[in-house]
Symmetry: C2
Subunit: 173 residues, 2 copies
């Protein structure tokens, strides 16, 4: 029987979301039913990964509004993140998926828009045993790391911005 893993990609480096999308690609290759819920990324973005998902008819929800620390209406951002979790709960219990990516969800814990203890308690009760979940984002809370099966920290060793090279389409977004 399949053992649904709780996977966490955290750290200050690149590759947290990207590795989640790589897993999605791999799972999709095996005919698994996959879904992405993005907690932060703005709906209006025209990201390479969203274009790819559209081409492949992968279910993909962008529920954030492009949160930054300078966001003018933080309560609106918080509400969008809470709405993303409600949608995630619906998808998790739907029985329609084998793998769900909760992209940049950790920010919602960090900003206290969501309570980590409540989220874990809900998952323990409601997550189907076979369903794989991937949670990405910086500063994963210790409770989430304790709860997870597979945790990887992506550490930045060297970044092109520091060499004056701009973000490259198709590579970084």
């Amino acid at each position: 029987m399949r053992h649904g893993l709780i996977i966490v990609n955290t750290g200050n480096g690149k590759g947290k979301s990207t590795a989640a999308f790589g897993t999605l690609f791999r799972a999709w290759g095996r005919g698994m039913r996959v879904c992405v819920i993005q907690f932060i990324k703005a709906e209006t973005g025209n990201w390479g990964e969203i274009r790819a998902a559209r081409k492949l008819q992968i279910e993909w929800h962008t529920l954030g509004d492009g949160f930054t620390v300078l966001s003018k209406d933080i309560e609106k951002t918080a509400n969008r993140a809470r709405h993303a979790w409600e949608l995630a709960q619906e998808k998790i219990t739907s029985g329609q998926f084998d793998l769900i990516v909760l992209d940049e969800m950790t920010y919602a814990f960090h900003e206290r828009w969501l309570d980590i203890a409540q989220v874990i308690a809900w998952l323990q009760e409601h997550k189907p045993a076979e369903l794989h979940l991937i949670v990405t984002g910086r500063d994963a809370p210790p409770e989430l790391i304790a709860f997870a099966d597979l945790v990887t920290e992506m550490r930045e060793i060297k970044h092109p911005y520091t060499r004056g090279i701009k973000a490259q389409p198709g590579i970084e977004f």
Copy 2:
């Protein structure tokens, strides 16, 4: 103008190749021309990522023979890795690609099947300026890190094998 990045995903954790495949997915979403050359992975594998690539008609070469430290015929493995580099050189200079993934290439440096100084000198002379390259694998040599634009270390924080959970199809392979 596009600045072709040299990207290195290294470290002892999961997600080195997976993040490369995520970038591939993203770049493919933008209509970029992508190609993968795997230095170690055996041709006979029926991996989720290869199935996905086949569905998307992405050019994908598996030139390894599933190298392990217990491999019986190490010279054969070495020759396959050298052949992978020859193919990579051909693809790099072909003008047919925007992004090429050199998956698990670092093992070839580590095992001294390829000379890192020679490879870098060749890239400096022959790599088109706009072409992005991603090199993955443990123990990336310092020369490669110095040469790269973007380097991420994937660190294992927690792994399900240590909890007695087997590798899960579609997630880890």
